[in-house]
């Protein structure tokens, strides 16, 4: 990776802007990694980019009360490809998000026009 041309986060955001949830995989280690890096942790091996299928499971979750508003959720999601990230589960009551819940990725625009997009999740119907 030539850091004068592109950063790991820059490449990731490029995919996210196209609606894709990208992650890195080390063929040498046979493992997926997240967040994006210059080399694979542990081995220092080269990493290749892959696109996630977008399906995962809530590993842990919390909700945070808001004065005069609705509580919001923060969750850790284990993706089927074998990596974890912090995110939130949307479109349901924050208190209803549960460990073990199957969830699906969608790209969320940055909160301000100048902010980068980020990945969020929704509950998988019938899972």
């Amino acid at each position: 990776m030539d850091l004068k041309q592109q950063s790991p986060l820059g490449k990731y955001l490029e995919h996210l802007k196209a609606g894709e949830f990208a992650y890195q995989y080390s063929p040498a280690d046979g493992k997926a990694f997240f967040y994006p890096r210059v080399v694979a942790p542990g081995s220092g091996a080269a990493l290749e980019w892959r696109i996630s299928r977008g399906l995962g499971t809530v590993y842990s979750t919390t909700w945070i009360p808001v004065k005069d508003g609705q509580p919001y959720n923060v969750a850790l999601v284990d993706m089927d490809e074998g990596f974890r990230l912090m995110s939130r589960v949307e479109d349901i009551d924050a208190k209803a998000v549960a460990i073990g819940m199957r969830v699906k990725f969608r790209a969320h625009a940055g909160d301000k026009p100048e902010d980068p997009p980020y990945p969020v999740f929704t509950a998988v119907e019938g899972a």
Partner: protein
């Protein structure tokens, strides 16, 4: 690979002191609190400021703590160490000072901390670095990270909010025997459960206090320690377990780096959990002592919630834990690890009055930093252990 060259008895903790705690006067600086702690800790052992030749310090409010301290106190140290790994920095400083003293790089080391986070607000005292992978989700940090560890522990092992509350209640009972503790009123499990939710399942009474405060520790060579005012306390075991920085990178939220640091410290000390008289664990949140009691071998994994129930870790219980009242009820200026070292030293000297653990000769001090990120275990012993 563990190739330990630190020699038992080559260095000792000889002086300890807190600065003023709780809420200090407007415009007090963290360095004011460090300086006050250092002078008091030197007085505790009978050494002078002019004897100090090494400085160890950390605080979230001053990146260059040792430079500021050198200037403020007019010292000319031959050795300094500004290691900053959050609340467990001071447990690391003890080992670093032990090594420097044994090598002859210095003879009298002070380890200092100060914070005015109650006065200036937690946000001002500990600004968080921007992290793209967390910021959009607005976790209430550090609480939300510990909340997710608690939620996972509850899910896997059936731990309950009542069991978490037992930790807060025990801490409060100890605090009521500590004249300098922030909290002065008794606390019940029901009151913890009914208190305001901060980040589910942790309520405000599951969270450490937000106070001002600081303190210092003086260390010197084993030889010189024997000539000073108080009974020396020796570091006899040490282990580090740095497992991650952000909570999303913690492999298993129910197993902390204490499962690595603890066995390393026990191996060096030649002791196990059953040999420990006093247990001082960093109680940032009620879930943390539960995790550490498991990871340090006081109970099996998953049993921590049941273990702390029924007053087992409270005054009069089977295992004295956090005898100063802890970060939950005594004081918590943000990087609390120094205070558990101070309490362990006082327990091993027999200075703790009504909360004194009888015939205490060994103590485990477990520091925690970040979001369960930096786990450092020190085992301390009285003269009979050297």
């Amino acid at each position: 690979m563990m190739h330990n060259l630190l020699k038992r008895g080559s260095a000792a903790i000889v002086g300890v002191a807190e600065s003023d705690l709780g809420l200090v006067a407007p415009h007090t600086s963290p360095i004011d609190l460090m300086a006050q702690g250092i002078v008091r800790a030197l007085d505790d052992c009978g050494l002078e400021l002019s004897d100090v030749d090494a400085l160890f310090a950390a605080t979230s409010q001053a990146r260059f703590s040792t430079m500021m301290l050198k200037e403020y106190l007019g010292l000319n140290p031959t050795w300094n160490d500004n290691t900053q790994i959050g609340g467990s920095s001071f447990e690391a400083h003890v080992a670093h000072a032990w090594a420097a003293i044994q090598l002859g790089q210095c003879e009298v080391a002070v380890i200092a901390y100060g914070s005015t986070q109650r006065s200036v607000s937690r946000a001002a005292a500990s600004p968080r670095e921007y992290n793209y992978y967390e910021a959009p989700f607005k976790p209430f940090m550090p609480t939300s990270a510990y909340a997710m560890a608690a939620a996972r522990h509850m899910h896997q092992y059936g731990t309950t909010r009542e069991q978490l509350a037992e930790v807060a209640v025990a801490a409060r009972q100890w605090a009521l025997m500590n004249p300098v503790a922030w909290e002065k009123e008794p606390l019940t499990v029901e009151q913890v459960l009914a208190s305001r939710m901060v980040s589910h399942p942790l309520s405000v009474r599951d969270c450490c206090l937000v106070t001002d405060g600081g303190g210092a520790i003086v260390m010197t060579s084993g030889e010189r320690a024997k000539t000073l005012k108080k009974k020396p306390v020796y570091p006899i075991g040490y282990g580090e377990g740095l497992s991650h920085n952000s909570i999303a990178s913690m492999a298993d939220l129910t197993v902390t780096g204490a499962a690595v640091s603890g066995p390393r410290a026990y191996a060096m000390a030649g002791l196990g959990p059953k040999d420990i008289d006093v247990v001082e664990l960093y109680d940032a949140f009620t879930i943390t002592p539960i995790l550490f009691l498991e990871d340090l071998g006081f109970c099996p994994k998953g049993e921590g919630g049941r273990f702390v129930s029924g007053g087992r870790i409270a005054p009069g219980g089977e295992l004295p834990v956090d005898t100063n009242g802890g970060g939950l009820s005594y004081c918590h200026p943000g990087m609390y690890g120094l205070f558990i070292l101070i309490e362990a030293v006082r327990q091993l000297r027999g200075e703790c009055g009504p909360r004194q653990v009888k015939d205490a000769e060994t103590a485990i001090v477990h520091g925690n930093g970040g979001v369960l990120s930096s786990q450092i275990t020190c085992i301390l012993g009285g003269p009979s252990t050297v």
